[in-house]
Structure formats: structure tokens, C-alpha cells
């Protein structure tokens, strides 16, 4: 601009003919200042980066502890129990979603509240780290809208990831008083650890009426096919440990079991396998004699040998994922991360994202009753297929298990695909690893 003004200066007489040089300099400076101001304003208004940074300013810098407290009266309504016959065409209101050229559903997130009962005791942890990550991911995605009137799907900020950390009746009451609850229509709940002692139900016990449930650990009897979404149980180790991808190929062990607190019956069956097949089978358990300060969750032991977890998973071709009290196990995520082919032994378990993922390409599913034959079954898998499964397992982890963000977006995409089936992501896009 300085250059330009200098130029104008020389050509001055033609532009501003009858003015003294002094005045001319003054006006030209004034003019350039105004011009600069205009440009700056324009930058503020239209530069995309500036909008982003400005939205940063709008985000409230608050603590979770400052959120408004909502008191739930003891007699506030409780939603009905989940309806097992719900399907998209019966319990979901598609009219809210509308036709749009992008074929994307709009997702609204309720603002965070802290719910307390009449006596002021809190109903649950306000929000867990993972649920906060999940909501942040939705909020940053292109599905998000802050306009409750345009939304097609509602995500409550009530954290129900782990049923053990909440009070069932009060949580249900908290859900029922959400502003657009309407019997839970078009509401999506995320739950990873359902059920509790003594019977460990396979779906969240919180009454939720028509709400969709993205649940970890569904069984074929509680999963409403085409309505619910089966999600993995997130393993926080995914974020902590960096396991570099290991090329496919033979590993030191053939079968590895790394789970702790297995039912003794399962453990004895595994030990029988080990006795039969020797070195190639490794059955690990928790360590009993660890020195203080070593986190027990990162170590596994076999007799007196100590192994690092989850690194040891990379040493095996197949890794057993047995059901525990629940069907969904966080170890599945660790196993996939290690590029170990999961051997899933959990009858009636609905595998994560089974609506779109072809698990036959990444895992071996063995009925519980066939456990004694596990070794011969796995031996019959051709080597080339094992290598492909190893690659596929790792790819599943990277794309769909890695973070709460990956889990959230895959879940929303599945629901999106149901509402706009003609724009749905194809089998190949879901399952084929990106070409190297």
C-alpha cells in the first residue's frame, strides 16, 4: 500500500488537482488509513481462521463443577422401560431429519447439568473424561447443530457410559425432564458397561423408553437390530500406550490369553489347551507379587514370568477374548491395537458395529462349547488369511476403536446411513483398509 500511495503521489495532480502538497499528503494518509481499516474489517469478517478463533472466545472457559444444578423431585416422571419392538420406522421420527443435499443428520447436544436428588445427593458423576471426549467429538463434527429446532438426533449430556457409576431411577428421571425428551424419540444414549450384579443385563438398565441405545455388550436378545448400535468398550490404554503397527506374519506364540478374573471354568479349559499344545499357547493372569508402584493393569504374569501389557499381545498370532460378567470386553480393543487376531468366545454377543463391519475378515468367532477344539480350528486358518486378518484387525482399531471420537463418529454415521440409505457408506468403504 505504501508503494501504491507513492505512485498516486506522483500522479497526484490528475487525481486531486487543486490542492497543496501538504493537504494532499494528509488526505492520502487519511485515505490509506481508512482503506486499511476497511481491509482489516473485511479480514475479521470473512477470514475463516478468524471465525474459528473467535468461536474459541465464545466457548465458555468454565469448570465442570460450575455447571447448573438441577434438583429432581422424588415424584418426577420416570420413562418407560426400553421397548424391545422398537425399529426405525416405528419409534424414530424421520420427519425431524428432513431432506438435505448433504444427506447429514443434525445432532443436538443438551447442555451439561448436574443432577441431584431431593436431598442434594448427586445422581451420578457429572461427566466422565470419555463422555466429555465423545461429546466434544460430536460437537466438532459436521453432524453438530446447536439449534434444537433443527436437530434430528438428540444426545443427552447425562453420562450413562458405565451403569455402575449411576443411580438408575434418578438418572431415568433426569432423562425424562430433558426439554425435548418426548418419550425418548430420536434420543441417543451411549453406554459401554451395561448391567450390574447379580444378573448383569446385556443392555443398560436405565428406563429409556424409545431412545436409541449405542451399547457395548449387547446380546442377540437385547439388541434391536436396525435400531440400536453395538459399540465397542473403549479401552483407555489406547490413548496411553503407543503400540507401533507390526507387520503381519508369524509371531512367537500361537494363542495368547491375557484376561484377568476369568471364570475358573474357562481358565481350566485354557490350561488344558496349554497342557496339550505346550509352548505355543500362553495363558497369562494377574501378577500377585508385584512391587509397589508398578501399575497392576500394565503387567501380566505366567508362573514367575512377568510380561508387559499390552505389548505382549503383539507376540501372538491369536488372542483370546472371552466373555466376563459382561459380553463386551475392553480387551478386544487392546487386541486389535496389537494387530493380534481376536478369537471371540462369547455366545450371542453382538460384535461392535456389526451392522457395517465384516468381522469374519478380522476375527475368529468360536462357540463357547467348541473351546476345547480351539487349537485345531485356528490351525485350519490358512496363513495368508491370518496375515490379512492381522492387517484388518489393526485397521478396525485405527478406524473405529482408537478413540472416543472414532466410536462416536462411526455410531452417528451408522444412524445417518439408516436415514439416508441412498447416500450410505458402502461395505468397501467401511471394511477395506485404505490402499497403501
Amino acid at each position: 500500500i505504501m508503494c501504491a500511495s507513492a505512485k498516486y503521489n506522483t500522479r497526484g495532480p490528475a487525481l486531486i488537482p487543486r490542492m497543496k502538497t501538504k493537504h494532499r499528503i494528509y488526505y492520502i494518509t487519511l485515505f490509506s488509513v481508512v482503506l486499511l481499516g476497511l481491509i482489516a474489517t473485511g479480514m475479521f469478517q470473512f477470514w475463516p481462521h478468524s471465525i474459528e478463533s473467535s468461536s474459541d472466545w465464545t466457548v465458555e472457559k468454565r469448570s465442570v463443577h460450575d455447571v447448573p444444578v438441577v434438583k429432581l423431585p422424588a415424584d418426577s416422571p420416570i420413562p418407560e422401560r426400553g421397548d424391545l419392538s422398537c425399529r426405525m420406522h416405528t419409534c424414530f421420527d424421520v420427519y425431524r431429519c428432513g431432506f438435505n443435499p448433504k444427506n447429514k443428520i443434525k445432532v443436538y447436544i443438551y447442555s451439561l447439568k448436574k443432577y441431584v436428588d431431593e436431598y442434594g445427593t448427586s445422581v451420578s458423576n457429572t461427566i466422565s473424561r470419555e463422555y466429555n471426549e465423545l461429546l466434544t467429538a460430536i460437537s466438532d463434527s459436521e453432524f453438530y447443530t446447536d439449534d434444537v429446532n433443527r436437530a434430528c438426533l438428540f444426545v443427552p449430556s447425562v453420562d450413562v457410559l458405565n451403569q455402575n457409576t449411576l443411580r438408575i431411577k434418578e438418572t431415568a428421571q433426569a432423562l425424562a425432564q430433558l426439554s425435548r425428551w418426548d418419550r425418548g424419540t430420536n434420543h441417543l444414549l451411549f453406554n459401554m458397561l451395561p448391567g450390574g450384579p447379580p444378573d448383569y443385563n446385556t443392555a443398560l438398565d436405565v428406563p429409556r423408553d424409545r431412545a436409541l441405545l449405542a451399547g457395548g455388550g449387547f446380546s442377540t436378545w437385547t439388541y434391536r437390530q436396525g435400531y440400536d448400535v453395538s459399540i465397542p468398550v473403549y479401552s483407555p490404554l489406547s490413548g496411553e500406550v503407543d503400540l507401533p503397527e507390526r507387520g503381519p506374519g508369524p509371531r512367537r506364540y500361537f494363542i495368547l490369553s491375557s484376561q484377568m478374573a476369568l471364570h475358573p471354568e474357562y481358565r481350566s479349559e485354557l490350561e488344558a489347551l496349554q497342557a496339550e499344545n505346550g509352548e505355543s499357547v500362553l495363558i497369562l493372569d494377574k501378577c500377585t507379587n508385584l512391587s509397589d508402584g508398578v501399575p497392576a493393569v500394565r503387567k501380566r504374569c505366567h508362573k514367575n514370568q512377568v510380561f508387559d501389557y499390552p505389548q505382549v499381545l503383539q507376540e501372538s498370532t491369536f488372542c483370546v477374548v472371552l466373555r466376563g460378567a459382561r459380553l463386551g470386553q475392553a480387551v478386544l480393543s487392546d487386541v486389535l491395537q496389537a494387530g493380534c487376531v481376536p478369537v471371540i468366545i462369547a455366545d450371542s454377543y453382538i460384535l461392535p458395529f456389526s451392522e457395517v463391519l465384516d468381522w469374519k475378515r478380522a476375527s475368529v468367532v468360536i462357540p463357547e462349547e467348541k473351546m476345547p477344539e480351539m487349537y485345531s480350528i485356528l490351525q485350519s486358518v490358512p496363513q495368508r488369511q491370518i496375515e490379512e486378518m492381522q492387517r484388518q484387525a489393526r485397521w478396525f482399531w485405527e478406524a473405529y476403536f482408537r478413540s472416543m471420537k472414532a466410536i462416536a463418529l462411526a455410531t452417528l454415521q451408522i444412524i445417518n446411513d439408516r436415514i439416508y440409505p441412498y447416500a450410505a457408506i458402502s461395505y468397501e468403504e467401511w471394511n477395506d483398509p485404505p490402499a497403501v
Binding site: M260, G324, E388
Partner: protein, 788 residues
């Protein structure tokens, strides 16, 4: 203006600008940009203490998810058996897997009763099962049972409704509460509700039903089948309507429907609304009120106009000329429109909420149909308009593949049903969705062979892999003398000289034991002799012995040079799913005798390559040689067994079929060609052969070699004569002409079995690039091919 004033003014301006720079955003928020501010999204807050938040579960809790107080797994499994019954049946609770362990997957059909008339469709279903390789007449060894009571039509207003099914079923000693039974049904319920009720208690039986409603569907247990008419062909079936030359995906009409409209009752909502999208130009949606006897009683104001419009268009014409076809629900969820549209390559637009799509357990319908929503009918036109032409073409191609692979005949529908159930028995040896949804489809890609797509010859391109770079030569030695003949020694030398040869297998099918290892020629590659007789019972033997993808099948009398073998193998690597070989035959339609003819004359076409000297993928080889385990579906159990195998198997077969076996004994190479052509829908490939030196025809001309000498006009193709294996000695001495007609009979019987003629003719022969060109022999890669 004074200079000072001016500079003050200037400073003021500058500071204003600075102010704007630093507090512009706040200004924007409070002052004149308030309109924009409302649009700025309020995202989920970034909590200041988000890193301090607690994890949703304690790591220990996540990793040791057990509760010692829980019942043991065994007790839990026993418990669930009693809980999850009837409407909550799943394979693990209502199906007895132990029945399938000993004899494999065998299906038994109850004997048909004379006094029980069967509907045409049910008769076809039963016939399909009896034709299947899983059929067993012995209930003891059966894994799955199928009733002889016609349960297809359970509308009690229908003439084919069978009464007192409950009583009849209970009288069957095998019924066992319906365990391991499969019940077929096309129509359930009746006016006005058309419920899913079958009118009898199916107990724990698997239900294969058309128009399945998702709510009553027991996932992983029941099977949804398509609604087919009673005219649906038993086998073979018509081709799809999309041909290679009709490439342009956009047709005259975009979206069509022509059908009945119900004035009242269930399903009327959807069909009554269809006229809204009719625009008379590219969207044709026609309904008629003429339905049932008393339609005029309910008729509304639109009826007369609609009925007139309805007559203006021809349904077949619309079907042929439309890109998309609406398939709305009828009274029940499925309709005949579905299969019609699929065959016509008219992409089905489904308006049938809650319909569990046919074979959805295996088939990915998102690739072949647009699943619409009854409630969003008015969005359908814009939704289908937005689909890109490339995707339209992909949709159309997929409809054709699915139609041809799973729906074009009753056989295919029934066999798909059986295969889906079979896949559930051994989840680790079942087809992935990829195999089901890619050519040639799940019925032909057998998981018994492999579950890895890279092992099949069809997927190399998609899979980005290539067939192995070596081949296995498989020589059948049948010389009755028990010693090594000259031709076989020469053959072994020639084949082992090939740089691509990995191993040579000699199948010694003679009465006498093979010569000691010292007598065999020294070769660079391992030479294995398999004693045919002894190994017969081991049906997996070809898998273990044949390590390579390619198999070079040879007869003892084949005469080939090393360069011929090399070149043929190079060609095969480009076409791994086809048979590549030297001597050829062809088929033709004999108009006078109204049957298929088989000829060895030197014609300009070929459709069969003799397996006396041919390369093929071990997948079909596995089928041909290993017999039972790896045969593709359409093959009759008897035919695909090579002769040396069949005596073992005759005992498994019903007596009535034995005659057929015997008559087919001489045509295993025709069978192989028919099989491969049925799978690939492509002709075999002939490669250049060095000019044949005349060879004396051996004394014993069996059926194999027999055809070489049979045509009266006598122009023989240059096929090396073959002698029969020892097993069929009975026909060995037979006259050539008898054998020739036997081969012709065999071809006709195979066509009859398949329901159509799978062989495809070709006019192609592949030569090396410089073959017979006027250049120096030194520049040619295969100079020996041209040596006289």
C-alpha cells in the same frame, strides 16, 4: 485546517483502528454485527478441568470383568436353553448342533404322502432339496428336517390352506418340538390384518418366510426369502435383462410403478399415496382401484381417472425402460414386483417399512436397491435423481448379479437358504460378506475350500493379488501293464523342464502297483506318486498335495513340449479363472434331433477344452477331484466325482440315481468345462499347439479317446488319444461311436441338470506375439512351437 488539528484527527483515527483490531470481536458481538453473532455455533464447552475428569471406569474394573458369584458358564448355557425358546429362539438355544457333527450338513425331507396334495411351488422346493448335495434319505444322519406338509400358503381363505397342521406335526416322531426343522412359508395371515401367524405352532423350527416383518424375525435364526410365483423355474432360470451392449445407465423413465391400489385396509396408506409423485414425464406412477370383487363400493374420487391412466401404459414396457422401479408393500411386506424389478435391472426402490429383506444375513442390499421410507415417499424422486450415473450403473450390475446368483430359480433360492444355515454351523468356516456379494456369489465360492478370497480364482483383481507363479502337473497314469510307457516318460521330462513347474503328481490308477522309485526318471522338481486306490477315501488329498494355484492336468498319452507348457501357463496367469488348454471340442444345437450336440470336428468355435492337457485353477480342480467336499453347488453329487472316486460314493446315493452315474462315467472333462463355464460364464481358452505328429491310437480306446475317432466325417482334432482308467473297463472295449454318443448324452444330461446350457463358445486362440511372423527364430520367445 491547522496542522495540529489534522494530526490529532489522524491519531484519533489510528487509535480507533487499533481499538477495532483488538476489540473488534467484542464490538462485533455487542454492536452492529449482532446478526452474525447468533449464527456462531455454540459448541460443547472446553472445560478448563477436562484433563482432571475421571475415567468412565477404573482400569482394573475394565480389565478384570468377572464376578466369582456368577453361575459357571456351563450352568449359564444350560439355563438359557430353557429361557430362550419359541419367539426368542436363536441357533445356540433352539438348534441341535450335535446332529450335524457326525455326518455333516445333511437335509432330510419327510416322505411325501399320497393324499396330501402339494402346491406347485412347494413341490419345487422339495425337489430342489432332493437335488441338493446335502440331501439324505436317512433321517438318522440328517441335521435339518423339512416337512412334507405344504406350509407355503397359510392364508386360511386360500384353497391351498392345509388344515390341522398342528395335529399332523405332533404325530411325527421326528418333530421333537420343531428342533432342527426348516419351515418354508410364502403367505401368512389373512384379511384384514395379515399377521405373521402361521396358524400352527412352529415351536423351535427355523422359519424361511417371505415378507418377513423385522419384529417377528428372529435374527440369526430365521431366514427371509423372496416371494416367488408358482411359475418360477425349478432350475436354470431366465437371464437378467441387462446386456453388455446396453451400457447407458439412464433410461427413458426415471421411476415407475404400475399396480393395484388398495382402497382400505392394511398397506393402503402407501399405495394410495403413490399417485402424488406421478408427473407424466419421467416419473410414472399408476394405480388402479380394480381389486377384489367389491372395489366399486369403496371407490373414491380419483379412481375413475386413475383407472383410465392405468390403461395407457404397458407394465412390461415400463419395466424395460425405467432406471428405478418402486416396490411398495402390498397387503404383505414383500411383493412379486421385487424379483421382477431385479431381473429387469430396474433398481428397486423399496417402500416397505419393517421388511426384513430377502437373505439380508448374506446379501448387502445397499448395493442393489434403494431402501426408501414409506413416510418419506415425496422425497424419493429427488433422492433418486441425486444418484450419480456411475452408481446407477453399479446398482444395475449388482441387481443382475444377485438375480443370477440367488434368485433366478427355485433351486437357487432354496440352496441359498440351505447355505446360509450351513454357514451358521461353523462360523469360522463360513463365507464373509465379501464372498456373498461379489461374483460368482456364495453358492459357488465354497468355504469348505477356503475362507480366504485370495485362494479363489475370481478375486485376484479386486484383491490386488495374483495367482502363484508355479504350477503342479497332475498326470493320470492308467497303463494296465504296470510299467512305465514311453509317452509318460517323455511327458514327465517335458513338464519338469518348465521353469514354472513346482511339482509333478502322478496318480497311479492301475491294478498293479507303481514301479519302484528307481524306475522313475530323475527330475529337477519333486515327483510324487499317489496310489489311486488307497487314497480314494481321503477326500482332502488334493488340497494337501497340490500346493500351487495352477494345476496342469495331463493324461499319460498327452504329448506336450516344454515351451507349450510354458506358454500355456503364462496365458493361464492372465486368465486364472478359466480353463486354458490345447485340444478343444465344441457344442452345438442339433435342430433335427432337438438336443445338444457335441463335436470334435475342426470348427471355427470352441467351448470345451479337454482336460487331457489343460491348465486350471485348483479351485475347480478341487471340485472335480476332491468330490464331495468342494463341489460347487449346481453340480450333481455323482457327476463331479471322477471315476476313481465314484464307487465309494455310490453307496451314499439313492438307487434311482445310480444309473445316471454310470451313464455319466465317461464325461468328467465335459463336466469340468460345464462347471467352469457355469461359474465364470466365460468360454475356455485355447492356446497354440505345435503341429501334432501323428501318433498311433492305442489299442484300448475308451470313451475319452473314443470321441477322437467317432465323427463319421472323420476330421479329427489334434487331441492325443487317451485310454480309459482301469475302473471303467466295462466300456473300455466299446466301439468309439458308442462312447461318442455317451459323451453327447452326458452333455445333455448336464444341461438338463443345470437347467440351461452353461457352455459358452469362443472363436479365440492365443498365440505368442511373434508366432509365425517373418522374423528370425532367435528373436522368438517360443521358437520350438513352430518346429515342424
Amino acid at each position: 485546517m491547522q496542522t495540529r488539528k489534522k494530526y490529532i484527527f489522524l491519531t484519533f483515527l489510528a487509535s480507533w483502528l487499533l481499538l477495532f483490531f483488538f476489540f473488534g470481536d467484542q464490538l462485533r458481538r455487542f454492536a452492529f454485527f449482532s446478526g452474525r453473532k447468533a449464527e456462531a455455533q455454540r459448541n460443547w464447552p472446553h472445560w478448563t478441568d477436562r484433563s482432571l475428569l475421571k475415567s468412565f471406569a477404573d482400569p482394573k474394573e475394565l480389565q478384570s470383568d468377572g464376578d466369582p458369584s456368577l453361575p459357571s458358564p456351563r450352568a449359564r448355557r444350560a439355563m438359557r436353553l430353557s429361557v430362550y425358546k419359541n419367539s426368542r429362539c436363536r441357533m445356540e438355544t433352539c438348534f441341535d448342533f450335535s446332529r450335524c457333527e457326525k455326518h455333516g450338513f445333511k437335509v432330510f425331507t419327510y416322505p411325501r404322502e399320497r393324499d396330501q396334495p402339494l402346491s406347485e411351488s412347494y413341490d419345487k422346493i422339495l425337489t430342489s432339496i432332493e437335488r441338493s448335495r446335502y440331501y439324505t434319505p436317512n433321517p438318522e444322519e440328517a441335521c435339518l428336517f423339512i416337512l412334507s406338509i405344504d406350509t407355503l400358503d397359510r392364508d386360511h381363505l386360500s384353497g391351498q390352506y392345509v388344515r390341522n397342521v398342528d395335529e399332523k406335526i405332533r404325530s411325527f416322531p421326528l418333530w421333537n418340538g420343531g428342533r432342527n426343522h426348516l419351515i418354508f412359508n410364502l403367505y401368512s395371515g389373512t384379511w384384514p390384518n395379515y399377521t405373521e401367524d402361521l396358524g400352527f405352532d412352529i415351536g423351535q423350527a427355523i422359519l424361511a418366510k417371505a415378507s418377513f416383518y423385522t419384529e417377528s424375525f428372529r435374527p440369526g435364526f430365521d431366514i427371509s426369502i423372496p416371494l416367488f410365483s408358482k411359475d418360477h423355474p425349478q432350475r436354470g432360470g431366465e437371464r437378467g435383462w441387462l446386456y453388455q451392449d446396453s451400457i447407458h445407465p439412464k433410461k427413458k423413465y426415471l421411476l415407475v410403478f404400475k399396480g393395484k391400489r388398495y382402497l382400505t385396509g392394511i398397506g393402503s396408506g402407501t399405495r394410495n399415496a403413490l399417485h402424488h409423485i406421478h408427473n407424466g414425464k419421467d416419473i410414472i406412477s399408476l394405480t388402479t382401484c380394480k381389486h377384489g370383487k367389491d372395489w366399486e363400493k369403496h371407490k373414491d374420487t380419483r379412481c375413475d381417472k386413475d383407472n383410465v391412466d392405468y390403461e395407457k401404459f404397458d407394465y412390461q414396457e415400463l419395466l424395460h425402460n425405467s432406471t428405478f422401479c418402486i416396490v411398495p408393500r402390498g397387503r404383505r411386506l414383500g411383493s412379486f414386483r421385487f424379483l421382477e424389478a431385479l431381473q429387469a435391472a430396474c433398481i428397486p426402490v423399496l417402500l416397505s417399512d419393517g421388511w426384513e429383506l430377502p437373505f439380508a444375513e448374506a446379501i448387502d442390499w445397499g448395493k442393489a436397491a434403494v431402501v426408501g421410507n414409506e413416510r418419506l415417499l415425496l422425497q424419493i424422486p429427488s433422492a433418486v435423481r441425486c444418484i450419480h450415473p456411475e452408481r446407477v450403473l453399479a446398482f444395475q450390475q449388482q441387481t443382475q448379479f444377485l438375480w443370477d446368483a440367488y434368485f433366478s430359480s427355485v433351486d437357487k433360492i432354496v440352496h441359498t437358504t440351505l447355505e446360509i444355515i450351513k454357514d451358521r454351523l461353523l462360523p469360522h468356516r463360513s463365507r464373509s460378506r465379501f464372498l456373498w456379494n461379489t461374483l460368482p456369489g456364495g453358492l459357488l465360492a465354497l468355504p469348505d475350500f477356503s475362507t480366504h478370497p485370495g485362494d479363489f480364482p475370481f478375486y485376484y483383481l479386486q484383491h490386488g493379488s495374483s495367482p502363484s507363479e508355479k504350477f503342479t502337473a497332475f498326470i493320470r497314469a492308467v497303463s494296465p501293464t504296470g510299467s512305465l510307457s514311453q509317452p509318460i516318460l517323455r511327458l514327465i521330462q517335458a513338464v519338469s523342464g518348465s521353469q514354472y513347474c513346482a511339482q509333478i503328481l502322478v496318480l497311479w490308477s492301475c491294478e498293479k502297483p507303481p514301479p519302484p522309485s528307481g524306475k522313475w526318471p530323475q527330475t529337477a522338481v519333486p515327483l510324487t506318486i499317489i496310489q489311486g486306490r488307497r487314497k480314494l477315501s481321503d477326500r482332502f488329498f488334493p488340497y494337501a498335495a497340490i500346493q500351487t494355484d495352477a494345476v496342469l492336468s495331463l493324461d499319460e498319452h498327452s504329448s506336450l513340449s516344454t515351451s507349450e507348457v510354458d506358454f500355456a501357463f503364462v496365458v493361464w496367469r492372465s486368465f486364472p479363472e478359466r480353463i486354458v488348454g490345447f485340444p478343444t471340442r465344441s457344442h452345438f444345437w442339433d435342430t433335427e434331433r432337438r438336443r445338444w450336440g457335441y463335436t470334435s470336428k475342426w470348427t471355427n468355435e470352441l467351448s470345451i477344452v479337454l482336460t487331457a492337457a489343460a491348465f486350471y485353477h485348483r479351485y475347480p480342480a478341487g471340485e472335480g477331484l476332491a468330490g464331495r467336499g468342494a463341489r460347487p453347488h449346481p453340480a450333481p453329487p455323482l457327476c463331479s466325482l471322477p471315476r476313481y472316486y465314484h464307487s465309494l460314493f455310490t453307496e451314499y446315493l439313492p438307487a434311482g440315481l445310480r444309473e445316471l452315474v454310470d451313464s455319466l462315467a465317461a464325461c468328467e472333462d465335459i463336466l469340468m468345462n460345464v462347471l467352469v463355464a457355469a461359474v465364470t460364464k466365460l468360454p475356455p481358452i485355447k492356446v497354440t499347439q505345435r503341429k501334432q505328429h501323428k501318433e498311433t491310437v492305442p489299442q484300448q480306446v475308451g470313451c475319452k479317446g473314443g470321441d477322437a475317432g467317432t465323427p463319421p466325417t472323420g476330421e479329427q482334432s489334434p487331441s492325443p488319444p487317451r485310454s480309459p482308467p482301469a475302473k471303467v473297463k466295462g466300456t473300455a472295449g466299446a466301439a468309439g461311436s458308442r462312447c461318442f454318443s455317451q459323451r453327447q448324452d452326458c452333455l445333455n444330461q448336464l444341461v438338463d441338470w443345470f437347467g440351461y446350457m452353461p457352455l459358452v463358445s469362443s472363436q479365440l486362440r492365443l498365440d505368442p506375439v511373434l508366432f509365425k511372423d517373418q522374423v528370425s527364430v532367435l528373436r522368438k520367445k517360443y521358437p520350438r512351437l513352430e518346429k515342424p
